[in-house]
């Protein structure tokens, strides 16, 4: 963008407003508040036998007031907000009462996130979030809410432009939606808890509309039925819960992942998805520090997995997000997930399948831990049953033993590590199994730790510190010497001066 002036040249010129069509969008959105307020008013006034005309007038007055207030606020916000792009920086001036001037250097821009909810889309608007790598508080994102769709696209292209612009992705998209993937959507804990949560929420809503009596009667009727015929009612309710949860999960999947397409453009990754709210995230590849293959228990049993990024400068998920911002794929078949992860990381998919297992001592350690937990639980239960005559308490240790042993064995089987050409791979986790491929040049330090019991079984935990993602990624319970060798080979030269190998005397 050599055509753009630098900040010094342009002085105070070049400031552009946000899109004026925002007023229409917020006007439409304010109707939601109007609906809520009118419902509340109706409930209040119907109880006091006002004349119908009076009620209508009151509701209309409230509606006009609310829309006017929202429009006035949005108008003031639009008038006071200006942004500009210079050769070095992206700047934003905003604030109705407190003026703010924020500016981020363009070479710090890591990601550009475009987002358009249905109302915004109807008016051709997009909300632009520009992420930088700063971890310092709220300053890691600059939001332009909203720009017109064309401006937003142009800004995205300009901010993430690279030398070899124009060369389209040669090998097609990395992944594209197949609706058959929706079968993985219900494989999550939310399927079993979601419906119950939804019912709770519904009860609350009914309550606030003064229909508590109705909801209460329904609930007590249900309770009577459950206590009268538990053998029929409980399985039936559980089944209904599961079906409702699965349906909800499928709908959520459709909303989040419809039109999903993951592409590699030169030097960056582009992710597009969303049915009602359309999201488009562009991520600079040189800010990518690795990928994560995530297999939660239920999804793993169904043969699925998903891919997430390990990146610097990717904002945290907002409160209303239905999906993790780091997610690169929806739940997909495991082989495809491994393939996508491998292509992003630039390793062969076979690497993900062939990790070096950890020593048997790691498994012994986990089994001993499970048995010790069982022993403590049993002792506690024995003590409790001495004081209180509740024999079913013994269920707790009886369930804890097989569960603990399963977690121990599965956890040990998950452990693994490998060294790719540019990546360090590590896998762990019994319930939520994760395979991390961390770029070796992204490793900014090592922590080795060894508890008393680990020392006795010759094990070590190696943590790679990195600026991206969670900040540290662990290779758990690897053999002492293997772990040190792994770290030494992953970042050549760093560790060598501090290592003592067999036969070579310590360099003092």
């Amino acid at each position: 963008m050599s055509g753009l002036p630098s900040a010094e040249e342009s002085g105070d010129a070049g400031w552009a407003p946000l899109s004026g069509r925002s007023l229409w969008a917020s006007g439409v959105k304010s109707l939601v508040i109007v609906a809520g307020a009118v419902a509340g008013l109706l409930r209040l006034l119907l109880g006091r036998d006002w004349p119908v005309g009076g009620i209508v007038a009151a509701c209309a007055g409230a509606a006009v007031l609310i829309v006017a207030a929202v429009l006035a606020y949005d108008g003031a916000r639009l008038r006071t907000t200006r942004w500009r792009l210079t050769r070095e920086r992206l700047e934003l001036r905003s604030g109705i009462t407190v003026r703010q001037h924020r500016s981020i250097p363009r070479d710090r821009v890591r990601s550009v996130d475009l987002r358009a909810d249905p109302v915004c889309r109807a008016f051709g608007l997009s909300v632009v979030k520009v992420g930088t790598g700063e971890h310092a508080g709220e300053d890691d994102e600059l939001v332009l809410d909203p720009l017109s769709k064309h401006e937003a696209e142009a800004l995205r292209r300009t901010l993430l432009r690279q030398e070899h612009e124009g060369a389209a992705s040669q090998d097609g998209p990395l992944a594209e939606l197949r609706w058959s993937w929706i079968r993985y959507a219900p494989l999550s804990v939310w399927t079993f808890t979601g419906a119950a949560l939804l019912l709770g929420g519904l009860y609350k809503v009914l309550d606030s509309f003064g229909l508590k009596g109705l909801a209460g009667r329904a609930a007590s009727g249900l309770w009577d039925w459950v206590t009268a015929q538990p053998l029929v009612a409980v399985p039936l309710l559980l089944a209904v819960n599961a079906v409702a949860g699965a349906l909800g999960a499928a709908l959520l999947f459709a909303e989040s992942w419809a039109r999903y397409r993951l592409e590699r453009e030169p030097g960056r990754l582009r992710l597009r998805r969303g049915l009602l709210t359309v999201r488009s995230l562009t991520l600079q590849e040189r800010r990518l520090r690795g990928v994560e293959l995530s297999e939660p228990l239920l999804l793993r049993m169904g043969g699925g997995a998903r891919v997430k990024t390990v990146a610097t400068g990717l904002g945290k998920a907002g409160e209303h997000e239905t999906e993790d911002v780091a997610a690169l794929t929806p739940p997909v078949p495991r082989a495809l997930a491994a393939q996508v992860a491998a292509r992003i990381a630039g390793v062969s998919p076979a690497v993900f399948a062939a990790l070096a297992p950890h020593p048997r001592a790691a498994r012994r350690r986990r089994i001993v831990r499970a048995l010790a937990t069982f022993a403590v639980l049993s002792a506690a239960t024995a003590l409790a049953t001495l004081l209180l005559p509740v024999p079913w308490l013994w269920l707790v240790p009886a369930v804890a033993l097989p569960a603990g042993l399963w977690v121990a064995v599965a956890g040990a089987a998950s452990l693994g590590h490998a060294l790719g050409e540019r990546h360090l791979l590590a896998r762990r986790g019994a319930v939520a199994r994760r395979t991390i491929a961390l770029e070796r040049r992204g490793i900014s330090g090592w922590t080795f730790s060894e508890s008393y019991f680990q020392r006795r079984s010759g094990l070590l935990t190696v943590s790679a510190a990195t600026a991206a993602g969670k900040g540290r990624y662990d290779v758990v319970d690897v053999g002492h010497g293997d772990g040190l060798d792994l770290a030494a080979r992953a970042v050549p030269g760093l560790l060598e001066p501090f290592l003592v190998r067999d036969g070579t005397p310590a360099r003092q």
């Binding site: 900014s444 922590t447 008393y452 053999g479 040190l484 970042v491 001066p497 190998r501």
Partner: protein, 164 residues
């Protein structure tokens, strides 16, 4: 070769004055605990002999721990700064070694608490871009700490890149 690869201990120990300083810290914590146990025994109970012996052992244990722990820590805490990296070891039951390359260091801080100042000691904290990567070198002579911080700052400023 792999089974016998080990980490050698870093070269330097904390300043010897660290032992009295840590002892003071431990005593500040432990003496009230021991005193409270003894006081509770004296005031609240009928002073049975067996319980008295238990309380005495507990109080003596607290004070003994306060005297022994700093010496044990002093023996295991070591640090080293080369031109390429910062390297520390600490921990008694759980050993922890940390290595950070100079090129990834973003910030160097020194800190001196009020009691620490009486002993002429200071801590140096080295922060990298990772939220988990901070390394603390504890209880150095305060002049040595200032000098070390200056040297680290000079080295890191000479290294290009944004250290992520």
């Amino acid at each position: 070769m792999s089974a016998s690869t080990r980490l050698r201990p870093p070269r330097n120990q904390a300043d010897p004055r660290a032992v009295p300083w840590w002892t003071v810290q431990w005593l500040i914590l432990m003496v009230p605990v021991a005193a409270a146990a003894v006081a509770a025994y004296w005031i609240l109970t009928e002073r049975p002999v067996l319980l008295g012996a238990g309380v005495a052992v507990f109080a003596a244990g607290c004070v003994a721990l306060a005297l022994v722990a700093p010496r044990a820590y002093y023996r295991v805490e070591r640090w080293e700064v080369t031109d390429q990296a910062v390297y520390t070891r600490k921990g008694w039951l759980r050993h922890t070694w940390k290595v950070a390359p100079m090129s990834r260091i973003q910030r160097v801080d020194t800190a001196r608490g009020p009691v620490q100042r009486l002993f002429g000691l200071a801590d140096v904290t080295v922060t990298t871009a990772s939220s988990a990567g901070a390394i603390k070198i504890e209880a150095l002579d305060h002049e040595l700490a200032a000098e070390l911080a200056e040297r680290l700052t000079a080295i890191t400023q000479a290294t290009p890149g944004d250290a992520t």
